[in-house]
Symmetry: D2
Subunit: 380 residues, 4 copies
């Protein structure tokens, strides 16, 4: 069967643009999808860098303005890989132009900013998706399957944390390329919107909605030099964020994210304790799922470390042979594969913009609770 | 040097009495202390069981009432191993009789109940101690030493949890021998006073005082049969308890305890992230300390799993040779050794009753916050 | 700088051809090499499959005979990914035609077969390399660096094993696509040439030459059906192979490979114990290196689990950010990058054909020893 | 039921005498055995040290000569904890005097020396046992049970190693207290009789007899000062020893012991691969058993880390509660419990002297093979 072409227009050329470009470029070699992505063009203000990026990744052309990319007839999907403060404007314009839109997470800097994005893509009726890539770690996808099959029974506890240590030094600047995540005006928030958002997206996918939260945030380094202006200014993002929650299904949640956990680079962990079984996973060994099954024979019960590399594990029949692990970048390839498959099947790949908006309501509630020192209900 | 004799009078014959008796009996074979404990007598209402216990552990005699034990001239220390609801009465009476008093944790069912105990031992001027045994896991003691030496630098995060799964079944009764911990009138609270209390005691020892908390508790199984009366009654203890906190040193805390974490039997874990280094420890592998040191050479930085069995590790020169691990019961032997050493040196072994009262103030605040849904200040 | 083009001609379309094609295709997006590989053509007898493979991987054309591929003027490098029995013929012809040659491991079915290959490439003076990819796992490359810097001191022990379990069932056939590794006429030997060869290549790279060996092999399943003929025939390969050795540097070696280790899919492990430090690595968690350094402070000595994802780890500055792991396929990309870099620098990427011949001498000695029940000297 | 008394006479006061004394002293508090050991007397040449030891451990008396201990009517069992070179003389004399005899491992310095010991106890008809304590690690005992139940099916591979690093320094002396294990005249051999003997004893218990071996030994430090004479003399023990073997059941074995494995203190590991399941265990985490069961559902297969602390695990109902680990010393308590139980049941606790002699035949064969450079058959 002849695959149709899916023309991709990329906005941005940073870290995430690299991960996405790699995904669009590799997906057809490992997944027999109905569409074959063509890396059509990249839009960015810095022409030199955009050109170099385009050449390295095989984009046919470069546009100096994302508006022009959106105007082009030969582009099917706009992939947004810019900092958070431009997601809304680009996404809405793209949707209004009838383009499919995929957007790097988080959807926006707040639910208020994200809601019009959802409305725009839904009004336009265009396929849309947010790149919460960790749903597509095969171990996490397997966890979802096990939960949906009822193997954990009633859920009592959900725990997640995302620990990093890259901003401990007071010398890390805020703002600018590479450090815009420390600039509240660009990023919206600190670890809440960056890292906790990942934890929340996965949590609600696996364990359903979150009803109420009580949280606290802290900014350990109070002021930092701005990378572009050179000015020393108060830091307005949260360096650390934590919250307790109650899920709709009656289970309790504990969540934490920080960039001040010495020794951890990207340690996203999650654990779910159910009546019948428990699951643990962590990003530093993403190719393993820890599984405890109470129905195992008593004397032989123990946590199993499942090496998620067998052909009967999610996505893994597309890769190598049992025992040979994949890594971080593959999660994006899986997401691209699912997006494309969704185009054929008509069943949208999750999380859609609307799904991702639910996460915005939770991060909003966490930040509100941190300020109010009250339990807050999650809106939406 | 001839060791003096320390005559021990035990109250209770349950699980903890076994652990304590073992400690008093073994300590002189491994630690060159100034006093040699003599297992003098055990007091308990059930004469048959007390007699059997005395015979097995080598107690010279049995008393049917703890009051008589306290009256005896030949008893130096009263060791309280009864359920929580009798700690205060026995301890106060013992102190007033001029006995040294050691008491199984928690000190009492609340700070209000514990305060008179503290006042009694201090007024009497008798040596006193609460058996928060996990301070004497050699790995935890080493953690304390490292922190006190400033090796972690400024502390950002403290995390602790204590996970069990033994009450998931609705068939577990409340009340009675072995299950009195599910009876709020006897235990005071559920996991908060039982398991969280351990986490809090260690946390404040390692990281200083806790100022404010916001918590939540849950009782998953709403009613249970009472073991002695047979009556089905509402369960008044907390099955799960969690809280966020701020320490006096500016660090953030996350704490959790539950008996509904399938797959975990006694998984007490703690982690501390400092500017310069981090520490992790868990009770299921109590003989290891995980250590990350940022001053290690960059390319070789990693978490070290230190096998705490060398002669230069706390307490370990008293045991076997490097590589050979000790277990749970040894923590009590260490505590007995320190208590005895304190008698000689005049420097009381911690935690004293007053130290343990501080934990009561925190558990009180957690329970209050769970009810008020507010952040609460820790009294005391 | 404009990269030159390196025209690749692939022979074969099986598992290894996939891994190599992926490497040639990706290398320029992550490594700034002087040459940009162009996937020019693939040669294979089965035209349909070759065509499908070419289309999926972006090869411009297909040749039905590898001889025609070699004749083409527009091909720079011949990459041999066929079963072992055709390596020699293809490699020698390619070298004689002046092509660069890269060959999947093992070089040949024996040293006798491999020697003319070495002579051919050396006589022709063409760049050549054997794809012993595990040298390019960043953790293993780091191990090499640490050893070369003298950080382990005098070496006492080297241990390696490669454990799989995919042929335990007597229903697995011998011969044919996918199972030619069980057919001695095609594979040469069983696990000795397949898995032990990896262990030996790495071992000699890290620890120098092997002088003498004593080994034993076993064939647990004595006869199997042939996949193509359907005939049940004696199995002539070794299912398991193990040997003791003495290295030239005075250290002792223990090696083992098997396809009968239930629970292990591709568990290649290696450990080196030196006077000053020790190293452990395993393929199931290939992104970690275990490191023990005796010069660490006594009370804090422990095995470090180094997460090999930092920019200062070999190859890793080319990938993502700290904490995000890569996988199996990346080892081939690294090898392609080094091969290309070697073309520019004139310093050939190892292992060359001659390097790989050294491994053949060891596997020959192991098989000879298994038959003679004597210690055998390694030739070469 | 009234327990009878078992009067123990100890020979020696070193490390092993401590471990044994602890076992005799604790066993009745945790195991409801028919006999209650009484620590009657200890015999040793050094009167001061013996007296101190007796006082610490509660022995009633001291004898300056083991012969006098044997002559005493009030001693039931002679427990031999002296260096290897005196095992035979003491054991034979004790047996001839009609005493029960327990002997620290290895039985003797060679099978030739051990055989008369076996003959003596068997002729006298006295209960006898060798303290190969690792059989009584609960995880290892569970492994034995699982194998005997046929859960592993046909066995393909057995692997064991015992790694230490305490003699790497050339400054460690040979001979004398604490270092007699480096003096061949006292110890018989180096790691072969000391550490490999443990591996072999467990291996034959779990996997049956060993038929043939090929081995190699090495002495890395060629000469050392003698601790008592001060003379620098050639080292005659083996520092490292390794061998390949074939078991009677057709499985292959790999064994290794060394005192030159930097980073390992007492890392005894064993792994068994069967058709249906596999087992792994190591002494540094002795409270865990790793278990892989092929009949687990495909997508959920993984190595289980079983925390051997539940009441349904061997010996564990006698200790604490699930989740709380025991340590090294408990293995001796278990062995004492089994010895005593054997006195009541008439079924001797293994390994008997005869069982332990089988290990001597294997270590003899390994040393013979190391010298002959041939495969050697195991006698006996």
């Amino acid at each position: 069967m002849m695959a149709k072409t899916l023309n991709v227009g990329m906005v941005g050329y940073g870290f995430m643009a690299r991960a996405h470009s790699n995904a669009w470029g590799k997906v057809s070699q490992f997944f027999d999808t109905g569409y074959r992505p063509a890396l059509k063009a990249i839009a960015a203000r810095n022409g030199e860098k955009a050109k170099a990026f385009a050449q390295m990744w095989g984009y046919e052309g470069v546009e100096s303005d994302w508006r022009r990319l959106i105007e082009r007839k030969d582009i099917d999907v706009i992939d947004i890989c810019t900092p958070n403060d431009s997601h809304a404007e680009i996404a809405i314009a793209a949707a209004e132009a009838g383009k499919m839109v995929t957007c790097e997470k988080p959807l926006a800097r707040s639910a208020a900013e994200g809601l019009p994005m959802v409305q725009a893509v839904e009004k336009a009726g265009v396929p849309n998706m947010v790149w919460y890539n960790y749903r597509r770690v095969p171990a996490v996808t397997l966890a979802k399957k096990l939960i949906d099959e009822g193997r954990l029974g009633k859920i009592f506890h959900y725990r997640a944390k995302f620990l990093q240590d890259w901003t401990i030094s007071a010398d890390v600047p805020q703002g600018g390329t590479g450090t815009w995540r420390l600039d509240a005006s660009v990023a919206g928030s600190g670890v809440t919107g960056d890292l906790l958002a990942h934890c929340i997206d996965t949590a609600m996918w696996l364990n359903g909605g979150i009803e109420t939260v009580t949280g606290a945030t802290e900014t350990f380094v109070k002021q930092r030099k701005h990378a572009t202006t050179g000015e020393v200014a108060p830091v307005k993002i949260d360096d650390a964020s934590m919250f307790l929650s109650r899920f709709k299904n009656g289970s309790l949640g504990m969540f934490e994210a920080t960039r001040y956990a010495r020794g951890h680079k990207a340690l996203y962990t999650l654990e779910i304790n159910g009546e019948k079984a428990s699951i643990f996973w962590d990003l530093h060994d993403l190719h393993r799922l820890q599984w405890f099954d109470h129905k195992d024979e008593g004397q032989l019960r123990g946590w199993r470390s499942i090496h998620i590399t067998d052909g009967d594990h999610p996505y893994m029949s597309h890769w190598w042979v049992p025992g040979l692990q994949i890594g971080y970048e593959h999660t994006f390839i899986h997401q691209a594969a699912d997006f494309i498959e969704g185009l054929g099947s008509g069943k949208a790949a999750a999380p859609t913009f609307r799904d991702a908006l639910a996460t915005e309501y939770v991060t909003d509630a966490v930040l509100k609770s941190a300020a109010s020192k009250q339990w807050e209900s999650v809106k939406g």
